[in-house]
Amino acid sequence: MVKFWRRFPLILASAFPLVGLPLTAPARAAAPATAPSESANTDTATTLRLSPGQYRQTIADIFDVSIKIQERFEPEQREQGLLAIGARTENFTNNGFETYYRIARGISAQVVDPRHRATLVGCAPRAAIGRDDVCAKAFFSRVAPLMYRRPVTDEEVARRVAAAGIVADQLHDFYAGIRLSLTEMLVSPNFLLRFRGMVPDAKDQNRKHMDAYDKAAQLSYVLWNTTPDPKLMKAAESGQLDTQEGLEQEVDRLLRSPRVADGIRAFFIDMLAFSDFESVSKDPAFFPRYTPPIKDQAQEQTLRTIVDHVVNRHGDYRDLFTTSQTFLTLDLAALYDVPLVDTTDNGGPQRWIPYTYPAGDVRAGILAQASFTTLWSPPARTSPTERGKALRQQLLCQRVPPPPGNIPFKFVDDTANPDLKTTRQRLLAHQSSPVCAGCHKLTDPIGLALENFNAGGELRATENGEPIDASGELNGKPFVGPLGLARVLHDDPAITGCVAQRAFAFATGYTPPSNDARWQKIQKSFADSRYDVLALLRAIAMSDLAYSPLDAPAKPQ
């Protein structure tokens, strides 16, 4: 290290202290020559790419919520039902990286613009027309640990300060130096990827556990959907996260915070496949009420319902499918034919108004909400098959086989057939083909229960003048309508097993090993809590399993 500084007198002319102490993230007690994760004998680290949501929240937290990201991120890859698993397996592509680079340039330009520089750079250069290594060092020492989610070495800081200084000298602009160096950090793998690095256990060299800083990042992203805050970094640094008591203290602190709502939202956005809304379109000729704002409000309604139920009420997860409590805007109320009155409406943006459906109302529960009924419908008609398949795959973690090659669809889409007026009648005719019947028995009886909602999310009682029959069947149990479906789901262990599995995978990037006693303990904790999702997250966060090396299942061939 010393040798490095001695041989670098020209660029690093100003007096650097030996260690680049982060201002908001704690430095280690003894200055490390390299980052702890690097110096540890770790050769088994796996990586997970930050999701677009995590990226946005991280930038907002490190810099400011006013930093705008206009570009679309590269679409994420869904694996085994979750984007969080795809985040572990997907590779960078040229186009995708180019997008990250453009996003990075946009962010760094805003950080140093005249509006933000005083606050976000945090110091003023002696002269804005050239280098100021002291100010640059203060900036990078502060933001680098937050961006890399670990202490950074003095060499890492020095590299950025040196590059910023060269640019500042050449372009006669201190802020250009900060901007370009920050851009480089924003596209660094150390920022874009988070790590699951394993280090040998101090007590048992044959066992490994997760590096404390990586553990902090995992905790923070699952519970808050963002980078670790200074307290969590401090807990990693002090070794607190390596003890059960210390871990419990931090997990409970994170869970008590209102920011846990961000983690819950991120989890359900992934589990409910809301990213697929990007390619949803509806024909305005059929669904004039389904406008772009409704598309956004439909998702927001479901997320507000979930956060209220899970975070504010510590409700039973199974009751999400029957809950009569929700939130509506005037536009959504019109869509659902709900007589909502907003007495404060003065022409401003639509407000979210708490609303409780009368007992037994068909619109209760999240499956009846437009987020589900519109996402899983083609542009101009309903598809009970798509809805049923989505429910099986996204909410029950069950696989529906792909359709066979030779599909005689002649009944399904013949919406003008005078003898087959309803979707149910057409699907039943379709199922007369034995090739199709097997899979459709898995999907259609579920999806048909939601036929009171058209492909635009609107409530309807008839189709082509024929009354809709919303009866269905799941696991041999008959029911009628979404509430009937929800009641049967309530008693199906797959519904709670699935959310537990998905929550673990959301946290770690891996599906849980089903035979591991630690996994069974997590499931028991969830059941004992009466299926409180926060209790589930706590059980996962407290389990050694979440911080252990995990294996990916073999890819199907």
Partner: protein, 446 residues
Amino acid sequence: MNAFIELMTRRRLLRGVLAGGAVSVGLPILDCVLNSNGDAFADGAPLPSRFATWFWPCGIGEQDWRPKTAGRDYTLPREMQALQPFKEKLNLFSGSQIFLDGVANQTHFTGVQGYMTGRVTGSGEYFSSIDGNIAEVIGNRSRFKSLVVVVDGDPKASWSASAGGKMPGEISPIALYTRIFGPGYSDPNAATFVPDPETMMSKSVLSGVSEERAALDRRLGAADRQKLDYYFTALRAVEQQLEIQLQKPSPLPSCTKADEVTDDGHPISLVNEAMERHDLFCSLMTHAMACDQTRVVNLAMSQGMTKFRREGDATGHHSYTHTEPVDQALGYQVKCSWFQDLYFQHLAKYAAMLDSVKEGDKSLLDRMILFAFTCHSAPRLHSVINYPFITIGGANGRMKTGMHFPTPGDTAARVTYTVQHAMGAPVGAWGSGTNRVTSPISGVLA
């Protein structure tokens, strides 16, 4: 190289480049102008070849569309009549298939996976498609190694893949326009060229990421080290972009900046709206190639199971392929045929755009291959036999045109293998299992 030397090298480079002020460090080929005949650069180097892919959904239909004769003396199928003006500039390939080798046929996917990547698998993996391979060969001297767009607003509908995996498509014409003609674009016909000092700095600073690699490699297991390889490949592509922006581009008389666009890329299911966007994308890509911003472009209309519909009709093209009976008098599915005709009309429009760009003694279309492909020939059955492939353009003189090549019983991978050869991609054996090929289709290459 230790950190000190690396930093010093970068520092010297930065100062050295800047000391030169406006003097660019151009690649020889880009500093040249055309020779007096206009058929090559002044130093004799050939004008660049280009490559385009164009995916249309749901094939042709149940009927036997294959021309009865092979070679030059054939009649274009009724379904492709819109392409008649380009008959002498195109080749039609019929009859080939993808061998599943025991793998389940994932409808609208496995066949394309087979001929675009040479492999069929039971999973959704999709790596190194032919356009990705070709871009590795011809795409390294343009600002963008390749461009990928999807018309209907679903970025995942792309069929383009590098070695790292599928490349999502750009769905917004505004975003594509900004990427090509926004910051970083320099007019090749401008009287002066001054390299942007900030671009020089950006490139040098960006190269600093590589200094983190050794530490990362030490941390990671084998799979994640490979992930890092893909990361650095992508990083180099951006560095290449910046490097090219620092070079004075060759004058290209046919290059004009495209008009600005207003379409934001919202999801589309109405096919007429989709075709408007299609034409917009094709225009932007034509301008991009004419201005040598890229040499490889890829367009997909939508997923194979397309949502395209006609206005006022709840049933879409894909559904009609399954539900519509063959009209006994006409011998084909009338509603499906309407969609196919529309797609080919717009393919012809694209070809006309490319043909209108003159580069010396040839048109841009002559210097390229526009490769049109689909997910199934007869989509009702989801069969993986008798794929229709169309190539338009002569690959800069490397491909004969004006012919029909029926190859019944052969793997469709041989068609794409042939295309790669025509584009100069040095492919030896390609594909796996029964789809492995080692030689191109006879008589295609010039």
